[in-house]
């Protein structure tokens, strides 16, 4: 019989008898291994219902009760225990019948007590076993404790029984059922394994289950967008995906084996797929590197999966300009053929290369020597304009890449810079700063200044030259007529010498020349227009002035100033005759007037008559030009001779004419300088000069009231004026030629040859000795001309020779000026003499190089002697020249 623990079992024992009058007397229950009964029911001498019962406390105790009333009789045992199992014998004694023995085998079923699932390491697993790796061979044990009869242990995998090895472990007195699984695959994940122990159909089986947990290496990896070219400098978000890993894979990035951080990892909701995003900016140097991502699972011993590709980096062309290898960038001169190569690194390759010069695209222009070929540029015969910044630009699909600029430095020998003043009008003893600007590359230049006049060519002393970059300034003070001429400025740099020197004409600054070819036009009854051609401006800016007077009343009717010699005169009376005078003037003074007569038109009725009337008085003058010239000449001679006589007779004549003899230092002191009354002087000349056009007329701006000294100065200046070669230059431009033309000036130079003037221009060493000797020579009045010859350098000889002959010729028309000449010469000679002696007297002679000092010296002294205020001297030294003589 079988019973579960705790149940009540009824052990049968037949107590019935068929014998008549028979009855049960005793029921004894034995357990097979015990001699003594464990239960007895004794009915001897009593009713069955009140049988004497006894139960072994060590066995059933009060749990057992024999029930006679049950057919055929049974022993009820409550709450059976495991220890109750065994063979039981029931002996029934009857009064009559044979004793009956019956045997019952009682089996108490004890369900399994507990169950533990353990892994190979003996670790208890309640819900999950693992994690295991793919390919693992695993064993799981199910230890079952307790249970009677011995339970059967079965493993189930997803409901299907498995083959298991079950054995009894005597030490722990439990059953152990072991299963082996493997090699595990991915499909085994989450497999549910159930261990079930049961020992009886009526006993509930004991179960325990575990799920297999596994770690997987990543199955795949994919770098999305691999194998595509990437642009340099652009930010890319590269994605790398890996699936199949459990737990989620780690993805790392590598660039040529170097780990890259700054990637972001995301995992899909099911944890199966990991995506890593790498934000990266690649540059050109990364081309060819291997960019890869690796996925691995730290929990699985397996090689990481990798995907990647060799980077193909595309970039904007990287261009650079390379000068032809045979060319030295620091030695390119004008005229050289230059070629450049554009070195372009580009991926993808450039489809176009452009060249730029100073940011302007160059095109092929063979006529200008620009040849643009594929990647090179040829510049034939470069010039300074070709110099500048060159760049080449490469174009490809990524964009355009400009090279760094290549500065083409074209070197050239200095040349004269354009647009610089070429003519300097300088008064005698006036300091002028002559600026010479050259254009040179390299700008490291040396200047050489040369003074040229008709006589000679002298290098200017270095001490007078100052240089500022490519400009040089000579501080120049002409002292004598000979100091007027041409200053040639020639610069030299390492490329060479300036081929064409810069030419600066130093001319004596003076009053402007008379206007000429004046015409009266647009004559109406009340207005007329005057148009003249301007003459030389005297080296200074000139303006023009028109005076219109009534020819009868000499009454001023109109005056006006204009920057150009064109005037319109309104508000005139009809049929009136007017005298017009046009002057040019500058800061040095006023030119001779150009005098004309003009008549307005008559009133409509009398128009013809009036015009005739007007013309009549005028007619004698213009009708005979030759005559007038002759008359003019004669008058001039007369006046001149008279003037000389007067001058000789009256040294301090109030007439205002110059007296050369009075030009002494002492007399000069007494004289008071004053501004000359130009108008007065001009009036005098008006009549003559208009016809004579004598270039050598002494300016008449000086008031007749001027004192002797002042006259003398004027004289002095005027002589310079007449000698100025620059006057001639204006017409002929070639300095050498002008000297011939200006023979008279040369003669004057020779005659009163101021050693000072020469010496200023001389170079240091010869001058030192010369100046002294000159002075001594010059002291001898009789021989001063020869002295000047000896003292002064060669260029003088031919000129002085010529002067003697030519000189008087042109002078004759200016007869009235001549007296002043003599005075001037004497004056100058004397002054120089004085100055030199004083120089000599000084214990230390002035340094020969100090041209400025030597200039200043005499000037100062002159001033002192003359006693003129400086203002007056500077303001009122207008000079007048009449070079454009018809002669």
């Amino acid at each position: 019989m079988e019973a579960l623990v705790g149940e009540t079992i009824y052990l049968p024992c037949n107590v019935s008898t068929h014998e008549p009058g028979d009855n049960v007397v005793l029921v004894l229950w034995y357990r097979e291994d015990k001699g003594s009964p464990i239960y007895s029911a004794d009915t001897r001498g009593r009713e069955v219902g009140s049988a004497k019962r006894w139960s072994d406390d060590s066995m059933f105790g009060d749990r057992a009760y024999f029930q006679f009333e049950k057919e055929p009789g049974e022993l009820a045992v409550q709450n059976v225990r495991e220890t109750d199992s065994g063979m039981y014998r029931c002996r029934v004694d009857f009064i009559v019948a044979q004793t009956r023995n019956s045997v019952v085998n009682l089996t108490i079923i004890v369900p399994p007590e507990r169950m533990v699932i353990r892994d190979q390491l003996g670790m208890e697993r309640t819900t999950v076993a693992g994690p295991y790796s793919e390919g693992d061979n695993i064993k799981l044990r199910c230890d079952v404790y307790g249970g009677r009869p011995t339970p059967t242990v079965t493993w189930y995998r997803d409901g299907v029984a498995m083959v298991a090895d079950t054995k009894y472990m005597p030490l722990g007195k439990h059953l152990r059922s072991e299963i082996a699984l493997g090699p595990l695959t991915r499909q085994d994940l989450h497999t549910k394994l159930v261990c079930r122990a049961s020992n009886h159909a009526r006993a509930n089986p004991v179960e325990q289950s575990v799920q297999i947990d596994m770690n997987f290496a990543p199955l795949n990896i994919r770098l999305i967008g691999a194998h595509q070219p990437l642009s340099a400098g652009r930010r890319y978000d590269l994605l790398c995906q890996s699936a199949g890993s459990r737990p989620a894979a780690s993805i790392t990035w590598f660039l040529d084996g170097v780990r890259l951080d700054k990637s972001k990892e995301t995992t899909s909701a099911d944890g199966n797929q990991t995506t890593s995003t790498l934000s990266i900016v690649l540059n050109r140097t990364d081309a060819g590197k291997y960019l890869s991502c690796k996925a691995y699972n730290t929990y699985v011993q397996s090689d990481a999966l990798e995907d990647g590709w060799q980077l193909d980096i595309q970039y904007v062309p990287d261009a650079s300009v390379r000068l032809g290898s045979s060319l030295d960038p620091d030695a390119i001169r004008e005229g050289t053929d230059v070629y450049f190569d554009c070195i372009v690194k580009a991926h993808p390759a450039v489809y176009k290369v452009e060249w730029k010069h100073n940011n302007k695209t160059l095109t092929r222009n063979i006529s200008q020597g620009v040849i643009v070929s594929k990647h090179s540029l040829v510049l034939q015969g470069v010039s300074r304009t070709t110099a500048g910044n060159y760049t080449c630009v490469g174009f490809n699909a990524e964009g355009e890449g400009s090279s760094p600029t290549f500065e083409l430095n074209v070197m050239y020998a200095p040349t004269c810079a354009p647009n610089q003043p070429r003519v300097y009008g300088v008064a005698k003893q006036e300091n002028a700063e002559i600026r010479c600007v050259v254009d040179a590359n390299p700008p490291d230049v040396e200047f050489k200044w040369t003074f040229n006049n008709s006589a000679e060519s002298i290098d200017v002393q270095a001490s007078h030259i100052s240089r500022l970059g490519t400009s040089s300034i000579v501080s120049y003070t002409p002292m004598t007529e000979l100091d007027y001429g041409t200053l040639l400025c020639s610069a030299t740099n390492k490329i060479g010498k300036q081929r064409q020197p810069c030419v600066f004409h130093i001319i004596a600054a003076g009053r402007p020349d008379q206007v000429h070819n004046c015409t009266v036009a647009n004559v109406s009854m009340t207005s007329l227009a005057v148009r003249c051609y301007e003459g030389f401006n005297g080296g200074l800016a000139q303006s023009f002035f028109l005076e219109l007077r009534d020819s009868h009343s000499q009454e001023m009717r109109f005056n006006n100033t204009s920057p150009v010699p064109r005037f319109t005169v309104p508000n005139l009376h009809p049929s009136a005759v007017y005298q017009l005078a046009v002057y040019a003037f500058n800061s040095k003074g006023r030119s001779e007037p150009y005098v004309m007569s003009a008549a307005t038109q008559r009133l409509p009725e009398k128009q013809m008559k009036d015009s005739e009337k007007v013309e009549r008085p005028r007619s004698p003058l213009p009708l005979t030009p030759t005559l007038s010239i002759a008359i003019g000449l004669a008058a001039a001679v007369l006046i001149g001779s008279c003037a000389i006589v007067l001058a000789l007779k009256f040294p301090c004549g109030a007439s205002g004419r110059r007296n050369k003899e009075t030009a002494q230092g002492t007399t000069v002191r007494t004289s008071s300088p004053g501004p000359s009354d130009k108008s007065v002087a001009s009036k005098e000349y008006d009549g003559n000069e208009s016809d004579e056009k004598n270039p050598d007329v002494i300016p008449d701006t000086i008031d007749s009231d001027d004192q002797m000294e002042y006259i003398k100065r004027r004289q002095h200046i005027s002589t310079i004026d007449t000698n100025s070669p620059s006057r001639l230059l204006l017409t002929t431009t070639a300095p050498n030629q002008t000297f011939i033309g200006s023979s008279m000036a040369a003669a004057l130079h020779a005659n009163h040859s101021s050693t000072l003037g020469y010496c200023t221009l001389r170079n240091g060493t010869p001058q030192a000795s010369n100046s002294i000797t000159n002075v001594s020579m010059c002291h001898m009045p009789s021989t001063f001309t020869t002295a000047s010859h000896t003292t002064c350098t060669l260029p003088r000889h031919p000129v002085t020779a010529g002067t003697g002959a030519v000189g008087p010729g042109p002078l004759t028309p200016n007869a009235h000026h001549w007296p002043s000449y003599g005075g001037t010469i004497a004056g100058v000679r004397n002054i120089t003499a004085i100055s030199v002696t004083s120089n000599q007297g000084s214990p230390a002679p002035p340094p020969p190089s100090a041209i400025a000092m030597q200039h200043l010296g005499p000037t100062a002294r002159t001033r002192v002697c003359i006693g003129l205020p400086e203002d007056e001297v500077s303001a009122d030294t207008p000079l007048m020249m009449k070079r454009e003589s018809t002669v």
Binding site: L26, L28, Y30, K34, G35, S36, P37, S40, D42, R44, K52, W54, R91, D93, Q98, T99, N101
Partner: protein, 298 residues
């Protein structure tokens, strides 16, 4: 002092009472072999150890055939069954006489002794008894030749008389048991209403020189029934090489006695004692405790 002693002794006796108070089955005598028609006395000796006797019951093959209950009148009663013929007159609480014995009297005889209430301590033991019918004749050898030459085949049979159980036959050649390969066995023949059995055992071999010792070859057939029957028959054959003509002599030999063996009580499955006795170890511990306690009290 002496009082203390006395109390201690009483206490110890009381403690030991339960163990000592066990009835013991001293001896159950059941003869192993008995002969048909004879009487047999089955004995059951016990020591009640002061307990009152409730019953002595005899079972043959699990069925009660005799009981002795002192409280009954008469105390002994018999339950008839085949092969059981109880001589009630001479049967007591400690012995049962069966007379006469039949072949069906063979079986397992158990004696069960129970003490009176309340414990009804019970001891029992049993013994197997076999009723034997001895052969009506001695074994005899058939098929033998007077002379054998080397190489001649020997083919002989030994046949026993009718018996129960069947006689066990064994061949001996020159006194040595025949090799099993030479012996030929036959099923016993059952004959008659009483189904007695006749055993036959054959012996077949070729004569080899080794079979002749001192010129003779002796073939002996031994018939036994357990230990109660022991008889043999031997024939001697003369080898040819001897000038003397070989002769086959049959000699009658030993006869055996039958006897009844004492039952070995130790082999019984049933308890011979009604309760556990103190083991020697337990006794020793008790003695030790006693000695120490005496020492303390003194």
């Amino acid at each position: 002092m002496h009082k203390m002693w006395c109390w201690l002794i009483v206490f110890h006796l009381f403690v030991l009472y339960d163990f000592v108070h066990c009835i013991t089955l001293t001896e159950v005598r059941v003869p192993k072999h008995t002969f048909r028609g004879h009487a047999v006395k089955l004995e059951c000796h016990y020591d009640m150890e002061g307990e009152a006797l409730y019953s002595v019951k005899w079972y043959k093959d699990g069925r009660e055939f005799y009981r002795f209950v002192p409280r009954d009148d008469p105390p002994g009663s018999v339950f008839p069954q085949p092969g059981i013929a109880v001589d009630l007159e001479n049967s007591t609480s400690e012995q049962v006489i069966l007379d006469p014995l039949d072949l069906s009297s063979s079986g397992k005889y158990r004696c069960e002794v129970s003490a009176e209430a309340p414990s009804f301590q019970t001891v029992s033991d049993h013994g197997e008894m076999m009723v034997v019918v001895l052969p009506d004749q001695d074994p005899y050898i058939t098929g033998g030749k007077p002379r054998y030459q080397i190489g001649d085949p020997v083919r002989v049979n030994c046949t026993s008389g009718r018996s129960k159980p069947a006689v066990h036959l064994t061949w001996y050649i020159n006194g040595d048991p025949a090799e099993p390969g030479l012996v030929k066995r036959y099923e016993p023949r059952i004959t008659g209403a009483d189904k007695l059995e006749t055993s036959v055992l054959g012996l077949e071999f070729r004569v080899k020189p080794k079979h002749f010792k001192h010129g003779d070859m002796k073939l002996k057939c031994l018939a036994t029934i357990s230990t109660v029957y022991w008889k043999s028959n031997e024939e001697s054959v003369e080898g040819e090489k001897l000038q003397k003509a070989p002769t086959l002599e049959s000699r009658r030999a030993v006869s055996a006695d039958s006897r009844a063996d004492r039952v070995q009580a130790a082999s019984s499955n049933w308890a011979k004692e009604s309760c556990e006795r103190l083991s020697a170890m337990q006794l020793a511990i008790y003695v030790l405790i006693l000695l120490t306690s005496y020492r303390y009290t003194s």
